[in-house]
């Protein structure tokens, strides 16, 4: 894709000046690395790092009962959380396939704010508009920039700049507040497995907030999409298009914790209930390999006879552990923690073991 067709986030000039390497992602020209993926990864695991995630899309759902209206489109239960809280959920087709995975912010009964994957922005918005009744959906993706500040030192950095009391902001809580007097939505969420915040701001307030963060800490590590991927992979957090898509169900993907069969009807409920009753045929697992060669997306999972029984959906060298890790779909019954796994890497077989995430040193 020619670079002139890619969109640039409001932070792009800062990151170009900082020496970022850019890659096309979801139609955007995004920083993939600054100083190096392993170094950036360790900064987030041990300190704090700042991510430009403005490529993510945002949809606002408005109505007298926006909560009930949007709740019909998702597998998790917006009625089970109070205003000012977010939840992670799948949005499914009637067949139970995953349209997208979302973070949904319940700002009030009348106002629900949804963060969608960049690559699914147009599809999701069309899906929501088609299936939403009793509320209206508004694509706000062009109106918002987004930063993620992730790592154990995130709160200490952000709190002095933020009008809200971040120490009192619990996990998955959110607040409409200001940073350096600029309006934003701050939530204690992330895609790294570390404590930290995601910050949504009207695009015109993006650079002032960014610059305030860098003024407060001039050596604040900048983190690209490369380390974002290794960080999420160590936590077994799914990446849409790699680990999950419309051919996979949340039950297969290990996301049954976000499927609430006890709630009011939702799209995909019957199909998911039927799959649960009939038996889930395959399971997304995390694994470690013994050998030196990393497993990669699409590599086969093999049985003893060498026949493909599943496939790797994500794989890399874990910067935290220094071993090769990945996620794969394997047949039900072969998915238990401690079970062996065999992965075809080019003309060889690499052996490993299914492990319980997170795939980073215990704390």
């Amino acid at each position: 894709m020619a670079s002139e067709t890619l969109r640039k986030t409001v932070f792009h000039p800062r990151h170009a000046a900082a020496g970022a390497r850019f890659v096309p992602f979801g139609g955007w020209d995004m920083p993939v690395q600054f100083t190096g993926i392993q170094q950036e990864h360790q900064a987030v695991r041990g300190d704090v790092g700042l991510f430009d995630v403005s490529h993510m899309g945002e949809v606002e759902v408005l109505g007298d009962d926006a909560v009930a209206a949007f709740n019909r489109l998702i597998t998790n239960d917006l009625e089970a959380i109070p205003d000012g809280q977010a939840l992670y959920t799948a949005m499914c087709t009637p067949a139970g396939g995953i349209v997208d995975d979302l973070i949904v912010y319940r700002l009030s009964r009348q106002r629900v704010f949804v963060c969608v994957n960049a690559s699914n922005r147009a599809k999701d918005f069309a899906w929501i508009v088609e299936h939403l009744t009793g509320a209206t959906a508004h694509d706000r993706s062009d109106d918002y920039a987004q930063l993620a500040l992730q790592g154990r030192n995130a709160q200490a950095l952000l709190d002095p700049l933020c009008a809200a009391d971040l120490a009192a902001l619990g996990r998955f809580r959110c607040a409409e507040t200001t940073i350096a007097s600029h309006p934003c939505l701050v939530s204690r969420t992330g895609y790294t497995g570390e404590d930290g915040f995601e910050i949504y701001m009207p695009v015109e307030h993006g650079l002032p907030i960014y610059d305030a963060l860098l003024a407060a800490r001039p050596d604040l590590p900048l983190i690209g999409l490369g380390a974002r991927d290794t960080l999420r992979l160590e936590m077994k957090m799914a990446l849409y298009g790699n680990d999950i898509d419309e051919t996979t169900t949340p039950l297969e993907a290990g996301l049954s914790w976000v499927v609430k069969f006890g709630k009011a009807d939702f799209i995909g409920k019957d199909a998911l209930a039927a799959q649960k009753a009939a038996g889930i045929p395959r399971r997304l697992v995390a694994f470690k390999l013994d050998g030196r060669a990393p497993a990669r997306h699409g590599y086969p999972v093999l049985d003893e006879a060498g026949a493909a029984v599943g496939h790797v959906t994500s794989g890399t060298r874990s910067p935290s552990l220094g071993v090769n890790i990945g996620l794969a779909y394997v047949p039900d019954g072969q998915h238990k923690i401690g079970a062996p796994i065999r992965v075809g890497v080019r003309d060889r077989v690499e052996t490993g073991v299914i492990v319980k995430p997170p795939l980073r040193p215990a704390r």
Binding site: S3, R21, V32, Q33, G36, I37, Q38, G226, D229, T230, R292, A293, P294, R296, T316, R317, P319, R346
Partner: protein, 130 residues
């Protein structure tokens, strides 16, 4: 970014150097290692394997990506760099030195003249960068 004048280069970002004993040492360029990022794995052929020019002879993997390695010319592998099994990151630190990949025995070292010289390779890298 360095482009040593005593090496020859391919458009696939490998370098080749004629040694005093007539063998040709092959590696990936400084530009290539920089573009890959942290190298975590290298797969190389065993000694004795005969390579055609342009043939895939191994892979180099970073945290993020897998890249094939292409033989810059025909030849027989006389040695692979064993250091890279334990320390693949050597390629990042010393792409033209300790990070070499294979040594090839060739019929005619004149084949190197068909590859790019440093100036031509640098121009290619700059053109790719736009």
């Amino acid at each position: 970014m360095s482009f040593p004048a005593d090496l020859r280069y391919t458009k696939d970002h490998e370098w080749a150097r004629l040694e005093a004993d007539g063998t040709i040492t092959v590696g990936i360029t400084d530009h290539a290692q920089d573009a890959l990022g942290d190298v975590v794995y290298v797969e190389l052929p065993e000694a004795g394997r005969a390579l055609e020019a342009g043939e895939t002879f191994g892979v180099v993997e970073s945290v993020k990506s897998v890249s094939d390695l292409y033989a810059p010319c025909a030849g027989e592998v006389v040695e692979s760099n064993g250091l890279l099994q334990d320390a693949p990151e050597t390629i990042n630190g010393d792409a033209y030195g300790k990070g070499w990949l294979v040594k090839l025995k060739v019929e005619d070292a004149g084949v190197l003249d068909t590859l790019l010289d440093a100036k031509a390779y640098q121009a290619l890298v700059e053109a790719e960068a736009g």
